[in-house]
């Protein structure tokens, strides 16, 4: 399966993340999965004219393009000209290259939240008029339009995340290569369901603190970060705390809040990232699927039942009260 990977209005972090894929031999893993990298910005030899010739061959049908991976937002500005990123050596705006190549590709994959929704590049005034391949924030549309369907029959596959997890990309590409990826494998935002049907909250090491609403008050505290520190783990679709990052990591394990980087519009939460917005002392963003009244009732009950151990450790950077050692056998 021929894969072409191009970058535009992003930071290159999804490519750097990809290289952290958990394997003893990265090129061998791709090869054995049936993935043939036609070109990748950090990995391939071809430069300059050699690459331009390859792009022309793909565009004009001389080279089969099975998967077009785009990393980074699509910069439509200024005034729709795309001149905020003109592909070097070609004089042609990147958005025009992407549109032409998407038209001939069997599958189009948006690697990361920039290519999926616009992402960080679209934050604030969005002076570059950045958007995603098939979304503009949470609105269908983007560069290719809401009705775009790639030749293989699927819309743009949004492997969203900022950066995206190497496992999400590798699993998606391998499933495509094995022809094991169908429309039903996409969630309502066209993200692969294998990771988007999970919440970051699942498997978070702070879950005991969450249960008792024993909350962190400052960075480095061990407690749950939902009440004060802006954590959106109970709403963010991703498996970050079960499929870990770089060995044993995740945002919440690294001591900071999930900012829901897999969700459209995460870059403009409408509040400071590190603070939980509240109304009458209750966080505005409640856990997915949970009615507010239930949350309020459970929270006040659990707060009144918080063990001293959990309460003390929540505002410390290491365990100050260890679980009690019982003298009898555990029952």
């Amino acid at each position: 399966m021929n894969v072409l990977w191009l970058q535009s209005g992003g930071c290159g972090g999804c490519s750097m993340s990809l290289l952290c894929a958990d394997t003893a031999d990265f090129p061998a893993m791709l090869k054995s999965g049936g993935i043939d990298l036609l070109w990748h910005p950090s990995l391939s030899l071809a430069s300059g004219r050699e690459l331009v010739a390859l792009l022309e061959d793909c565009r004009d049908g001389r080279t089969r393009l099975d998967v077009l991976c785009i990393e980074g937002s699509l910069l439509r500005g200024p005034n729709g000209t795309g001149r905020f990123h003109v592909l070097a050596g070609t004089g042609v705006p990147m958005i025009d290259w992407v549109s032409a190549l998407a038209a001939v590709a069997t599958h189009v994959v948006a690697v990361g939240s920039c290519a999926a929704w616009g992402g960080i590049t679209a934050t604030g005034p969005n002076i570059t008029d950045a958007c995603g391949l098939q979304y503009d924030g949470d609105r269908p549309g983007g560069l290719l339009g809401a009705d775009f369907v790639a030749r293989g029959g699927l819309p743009v596959i949004n492997v969203a995340g900022c950066p995206t997890h190497p496992g999400w990309v590798v699993d998606t590409l391998m499933a495509l290569a094995a022809k094991l990826f169908v429309a039903d494998d996409l969630d309502p935002l066209n993200r692969p369901r294998f990771y988007a049907d999970q919440l970051v909250h699942h498997g978070c090491t702070r879950n005991e603190y969450y249960e008792f609403k024993a909350s962190a008050e400052k960075p480095s505290d061990l407690g749950c970060m939902m009440e004060n520190m802006g954590c959106k783990g109970t709403q963010a679709h991703a498996d970050c705390n079960t499929r870990l990052w770089n060995g044993e990591g995740s945002c919440t394990r690294g001591g900071y809040a999930c900012i829901s980087c897999t969700e459209p519009g995460f870059q403009d939460p409408g509040h400071a990232f590190h603070q939980t917005p509240k109304l009458a002392g209750i966080p505005i963003g409640l856990p997915t699927d949970m009615p507010k009244a239930w949350f309020v009732a459970l929270a006040s009950l659990s707060k009144s039942a918080t063990p001293k151990r959990v309460k003390s450790n929540a505002t410390a950077d290491h365990v100050v009260v260890a679980p009690a050692v019982r003298k009898t056998r555990l029952k």
Partner: protein, 485 residues
């Protein structure tokens, strides 16, 4: 015969890059460097809550994300006056070193060396060996390096939660305290990376490399076992191709100082190395100006970054890049590992640069020497951690404050300048390492460091992407996404 070539896209650099070359008699006579993409991070930051910078700036660049976080955290710490506890200093240095050393490794194995497996070198005696070790997506050592890098980055998983784009780096220290048992596991990871470097990259103990004190000593070491380890193979082909004649730097290098210690000193000292004087001068950040004469950006006056301005102006006459031209006391400087090794007095790099200047050979050598010097430091920092002592101090940022955050990314000197007014960011300016190295001409018409380094580069008949130009460009390890941001 003269001609003009537009060369690009370059790959195995971070981001998109175009170079326009004027060529006469088989040599480059003039070069213009175009950073082709603009995103506008400085404009994104204005008006936001100050700590939002910690979310936004790492996303300038996926390859130097931690460096951007460190610069932002320091700028805000400078504005609030908070001090970082020693544990926080050490863990943040560990994260920075993790990223910087991984970048040196990626540069050598993935970005720079694959060009020596190009068919144009098929007749050279070292070609088969270079191809076996370094060919893109196939070379045995390049593949082993990707695997070693993946394991090495597990240090970031523990300390930073993930890489790139951590939020554990805060103005008051690290949000992730390290337990005693975790320290043991982290030390084991460092030793694993050391084993890769000592076996594959150097074929020698790191301390032996760091102790090389002259080019004569380097040559003796090389001659003793010419194919053992990748540094020796690089020395073999560098001598054969005379890489020291390619890509001469401006003769001045800048380092802001790397790995600041709890006592305020730097593990690798700061300084401006002046080749003609043969000595280090202090860094005067007050003498930095950014000139937008040849950028597609508004403003004709060269401004200090604390007063800087970034506003796109696509049809600006004379503009040919999105990058501004930073200058130090009006002069072009080069930054990177070579600047850090010169400023901190590493004798081999000083000796080599005294003989042949900053060039393709010495830039790559400096990066490898830095790998050998810094990895043992990470072992010391881990050992110095005091588990159960604080890693973080809380701070309160005044509603009106200004701050500067300086650090060293893998590619060199990185500075952030922030002004906070009424509790919001009013101005944020970033000067990145490749902004220096790949700057355009300034108001006086003086070309930037790469532009000048390309002058005189050989172009063989029929070459449309000259291989010498590719070596020179990649010897700087450019990061174009940082350059413009």
């Amino acid at each position: 015969m003269s001609q003009r070539l537009i060369v690009g896209p370059f790959n195995r650099v971070e981001g998109d890059l175009e170079v326009q070359l004027d060529i006469a008699d088989g040599r480059v006579t003039q070069a213009r460097v175009n950073a082709t993409m603009y995103r506008g991070f400085e404009q994104m930051l204005a008006g936001r809550a100050p700590l939002d910078a910690l979310v936004i700036v790492p996303r300038i660049c996926g390859i130097c994300s931690v460096s951007q976080s460190v610069a932002a955290a320091r700028a805000i710490a400078d504005a609030s006056g908070v001090t970082v506890p020693p544990n926080g200093v050490h863990t943040i240095n560990l994260m920075l070193a993790c990223e910087n050393l991984a970048d040196h490794l990626s540069h050598f194995y993935l970005f720079f060396m694959p060009d020596f497996a190009r068919p144009v070198y098929a007749q050279r005696p070292w070609f088969a060996e270079a191809t076996r070790r370094f060919a893109a997506l196939a070379g045995e050592h390049a593949r082993a390096a990707v695997a070693a890098r993946q394991r090495w980055f597990e240090i970031m998983g523990t300390l930073g939660g993930k890489w790139p784009h951590t939020l554990s780096i805060q103005p008051g220290g690290s949000a992730r305290a390290v337990e005693a048992a975790e320290r043991i596991r982290l030390l084991a990871k460092v030793r694993e990376f050391r084993a890769f470097l000592e076996t594959t990259t150097f074929g020698a103990p790191l301390e032996e490399i760091a102790a090389l004190d002259s080019e004569a000593a380097l040559q003796r070491w090389h001659a003793a076992d010419p194919l053992r380890g990748d540094l020796r193979l690089f020395l073999t082909l560098a001598a054969d191709l005379k890489l020291e004649t390619l890509g001469r730097g401006p003769g001045r290098t800048l380092s802001f100082g790397a790995y600041r210690q709890p006592d305020g000193s730097h593990a690798l000292a700061d300084g401006v190395w002046n080749e003609s004087l043969g000595r280090v001068q202090p860094v005067d950040t007050g003498a930095i100006r950014e000139d937008a004469t040849h950028a597609w950006l508004a403003g004709d006056e060269a401004l200090h970054p604390s007063e800087g301005l970034t506003a796109p102006m696509l049809d600006k006459p004379g503009g040919y890049t999105w990058n501004k031209a930073p200058r130090l006391s009006g002069e072009v400087v080069e930054t990177g590992a070579i600047a850090r090794q010169l400023a901190s007095g590493q004798p081999l790099i000083r000796d080599a640069v005294a003989r042949c200047g900053a060039n393709v050979y010495t830039r790559v050598l400096a990066r490898l020497v830095e790998l050998a010097r810094v990895l043992p430091m990470t072992e010391q920092w881990l050992t110095a951690l005091a588990p159960r002592e604080p890693f973080f101090h809380a701070d309160r940022l005044p509603a009106d404050a200004d701050g500067v955050g300086l650090t060293e990314a893998a590619r060199g000197a990185l500075g952030h300048w922030v002004s906070v007014r009424h509790g919001r960011i009013e101005r944020y300016q970033i000067v990145a390492p490749t902004s220096w190295n790949f700057s355009p001409r300034d108001a006086s018409g003086t070309p930037g460091a790469l532009e000048a380094a390309l002058e005189g580069a050989p172009v063989q008949p029929g070459e449309d992407t000259p291989v010498a130009v590719q070596h020179i460009v990649r010897s700087f390890d450019p990061c174009m996404v940082c350059t413009v941001h």
